[in-house]
């Protein structure tokens, strides 16, 4: 299958290794990956901060960039949820009905990574190897907007060498929430603290999730505390094999046992 990769603005700009891992994984599974060069952002940050009018040209750019794509995959539950639930609505509200129809049609072919692997490709064992103790945080939009359910966990359970530990109070928000993290920085930090306490209680070396934004938040907190537990995107774990560990990762446990 020819898959168009939507890196998302945050991953592309800040954590490109996540998009790279997604491409490596899909190619390893025998699919052709294309990266439309004109892609930028889904518009979620604008919509969720109140700038829904300003989001319309961003949606238009997204629709132009991915026009004609057979299937679109993004390593982000949150951005895919925005594509599904917000893009057409903001376009329609602005009177851009043709754009709204195109956005809705494109959303039909847009998948979050774990959904694409399990539902479209029908695989749970992607042939990955990742010999680390890992806990999984189900990010809010993957959980409640996309309803990805246990798909990421099924993918993780099939990874060789991976020791999956359950995260207590996993369904609680980490406190990121886009601009919430700065507009209500204190409340956000209080939520983050509880999330980090739960992550650290598992003694996992790695906290993973399907959203680079939430991971940047949790990881930023863990790093500030010099905790030694790091955040790694689900795509990076699934891309890792005995032969080729994903960039910035080591097959050696980071914390000595």
């Amino acid at each position: 299958m020819k898959v168009a990769l939507f890196a998302t603005c945050l991953v592309d700009t800040m954590v490109p290794q996540v998009a790279r891992a997604t491409a490596v994984l899909l190619e390893r599974l025998g699919h052709e990956v294309v990266v439309p060069p004109d892609q930028a952002c889904c518009g979620q940050m604008h919509v969720n901060t109140g700038y829904r009018r300003e989001a319309v040209p961003i949606v238009a750019n997204h629709v132009r960039a991915f026009a004609g794509a057979e299937a679109i995959v993004a390593p982000s539950g949150s951005c895919v949820a925005s594509i599904h639930h917000q893009q057409a609505a903001v376009a329609r509200r602005a009177g851009e009905h043709a754009l709204a129809d195109e956005a809705a049609a494109l959303a039909e072919r847009t998948y979050e990574l774990s959904q694409f692997l399990v539902d479209v490709l029908g695989v749970t064992d992607v042939g990955a190897y990742y010999p680390h103790r890992v806990t999984y945080h189900p990010t809010c939009h993957s959980l409640r907007l996309l309803r990805v359910g246990d798909r990421p966990l099924r993918l993780l359970r099939a990874v060789r060498g991976l020791d999956l530990v359950e995260l207590p109070a996993a369904d609680q928000c980490c406190g990121f929430g886009g601009t919430f993290a700065v507009k209500n920085a204190e409340t956000s930090t209080a939520m983050l603290t509880d999330k980090m306490a739960n992550v650290l209680s598992t003694h996992a070396e790695v906290c993973t999730a399907g959203d680079a934004s939430c991971l940047m938040h949790i990881g930023g907190g863990l790093s500030r505390l010099r905790s030694g537990t790091r955040t790694v995107h689900l795509a990076e774990i699934l891309a890792s094999t005995e032969e080729a560990v994903s960039p910035h990762q080591s097959t050696q446990p980071a914390v000595s046992r």
């Binding site: 490109p16 990266v35 109140g50 750019n61 809010c140 929430g177 209500n184 920085a185």
Partner: protein, 486 residues
């Protein structure tokens, strides 16, 4: 004469409790430092969450019930005017009197006048959000009338000269040791040996209240539901104190928001299943009182129903926001909200805290008066999942943020930044330039994996508690294009 339509009236300023003195982030900052408050709230919300999940999980058709509740509410709101007139007709036919109050001031005047007409100077009150919203107790006090709250938690709040912090459990922010201290300090004739054992505290409140029930000639209540086709009012409660108020005094005055009605008796079937399981985590609430007008020689012989708008018609006019009027005040959204659990109810500044408050209060007052509330959410969506009438609270929050942004007359630095970012994100060439500029941030890290912790505002809002990774030398799309020669 030409008339300019300025929009429907919102709840007036200077009366009632829909507006806080401070913005949510400011108020939350103090609450977050209160370790006792955090412990009390964390314990209480976790307990109620667990109870709710258990009793909701045992109903096989919960989702269908929820959708039925949503559909009934949507259909009712679409013909609210007709249902309200029908309700007035039925209540009047059964010997009650209906009063229409445009806002909090009118409602307070009507109730004060009605109480004064009975010649009494004290009333007993059933727990009621509507009367808290309009500030009725303060209005009565100004007229020399003492209002005694009889719901145990409302009594704790009233005696403690405090404010409610939860819709269902107004004293959720207090633990039993604090409650004992309030009782010892404020209850006349209380046993000085009072302990903080829940049963002992309840007995002290019972003795304190019983005397007032027997003495009172006027009771004031709110309403959970009003049935338009029969003119029946309903209050749902746990303690029986409401039942005392609704049956003992000679005069009963019910203050109700105009959105609380259901068209038919049969509609109660849905809501009386949804409400107790969502609110207290019980299969059925202990006391469900229903009354229709006046029954000769049984219960109050004079009944007044005060229908309050106070901004509700303005909410109804908003196609997205009107769903907030479907709320049945169960408070399930508060108990599952990670923001409420940490910041507490007082931070919202309104009698309606939590997620539902964050969408209801700004709509009742006009968003400019509660501008920080729509942002007081990480949009995690737990509230929408828990809501028994499936109110899409996150979508309304996002809508209200946009209403707030679009109402601003001058360009804020934030708006300028978002507009510039929008211009970049909608033009691939500009976007690549912007990404390249962001990539220069890596020089601030001076070779380290993270940026310095002491960045200037607004970045400091992030870096005060969280590290920020140093941006990479090259974006993924740039690297891909280079490798694949496009």
């Amino acid at each position: 004469m030409t008339a300019v339509f300025l929009g429907l009236p919102t709840a007036p300023r200077g009366v009632g409790h829909l507006r806080g003195d401070r913005s949510f982030p400011d108020a939350a900052r103090d609450a977050l430092r209160d370790g006792q408050l955090r412990a009390n709230l964390g314990h209480a919300t976790a307990t109620i969450r667990g109870k709710r999940a258990a009793v909701v999980g045992e109903v096989p058709d919960w989702e269908q019930l929820r959708q039925a509740g949503r559909a009934i509410k949507a259909a009712t709101m679409a013909r609210l005017d007709e249902h309200l007139v029908a309700l007035e007709e039925r209540v009047t036919a059964r010997g009650g009197t209906v009063h229409w109050a445009r806002d909090a001031n009118e409602a307070n005047e009507i109730v004060t006048r009605l109480v004064q007409a009975t010649g009494t100077d004290e009333v007993v009150k059933v727990k009621s959000m509507a009367t808290q919203e309009i500030g009725l107790n303060e209005a009565l006090e100004a007229a020399g009338i003492a209002a005694h709250e009889t719901d145990l938690a409302e009594l704790i709040v009233q005696l403690g000269d405090d404010k409610p912090s939860h819709i269902l459990v107004p004293a959720i922010h207090k633990n039993r040791a604090e409650i004992r201290e309030i009782f010892l300090r404020t209850m006349p004739g209380v046993d000085p040996g009072l302990t903080d054992e829940p049963r002992k505290l309840a007995m002290a409140a019972r003795a304190h209240l019983r005397e007032r029930f027997l003495r009172a000639r006027v009771a004031i209540s709110g309403a959970n539901f009003a049935v338009a086709e029969t003119g029946t009012l309903s209050v749902v409660e746990s303690e029986g104190n409401g039942r005392m108020c609704l049956t003992l005094p000679q005069t009963l005055i019910t203050v109700m928001g105009i959105e609380k009605l259901v068209p038919t008796w049969r509609d109660l079937e849905v809501f009386l299943q949804l409400l107790p399981r969502s609110s207290t985590g019980e299969r059925m609430n202990p006391y469900t009182s229903l009354w229709t007008g006046v029954t000769p020689d049984d219960g109050p012989q004079e009944f007044h129903l005060v229908l309050v708008d106070n901004g509700r018609t303005a909410v109804l006019a908003d196609e997205v926001g009107r769903e907030a009027l479907h709320c049945i005040r169960c408070s399930a959204c508060l108990n599952v909200c990670p923001v409420y659990e940490r910041a507490g109810g007082h931070a919202y500044g309104s009698v309606y805290p939590g997620p539902i408050g964050a969408v209801l209060s700004p709509q009742l007052t006009g968003v400019e008066d509660n501008a920080s509330l729509p942002y007081a959410s990480s949009l995690c969506g737990a509230c929408y999942d828990a809501c028994p009438v499936a109110i899409d609270i996150p979508s309304i929050l996002v809508h209200l943020r946009a209403e707030h942004v679009e109402a601003q007359t001058r360009t804020t630095p934030e708006a300028a930044a978002f507009r510039a970012l929008s211009a970049a994100m909608s033009n691939p060439r500009l976007w690549r330039l912007a990404q390249r500029a962001a990539g220069l941030g890596r020089f601030l890290a001076r070779g380290k994996p993270t940026l310095p912790a002491a960045l200037p505002p607004p970045a400091s809002k992030w870096t005060r508690t969280r590290d920020l990774p140093a941006p990479p030398r090259e974006t993924f799309t740039q690297a891909w294009a280079r490798e694949h020669g496009s």
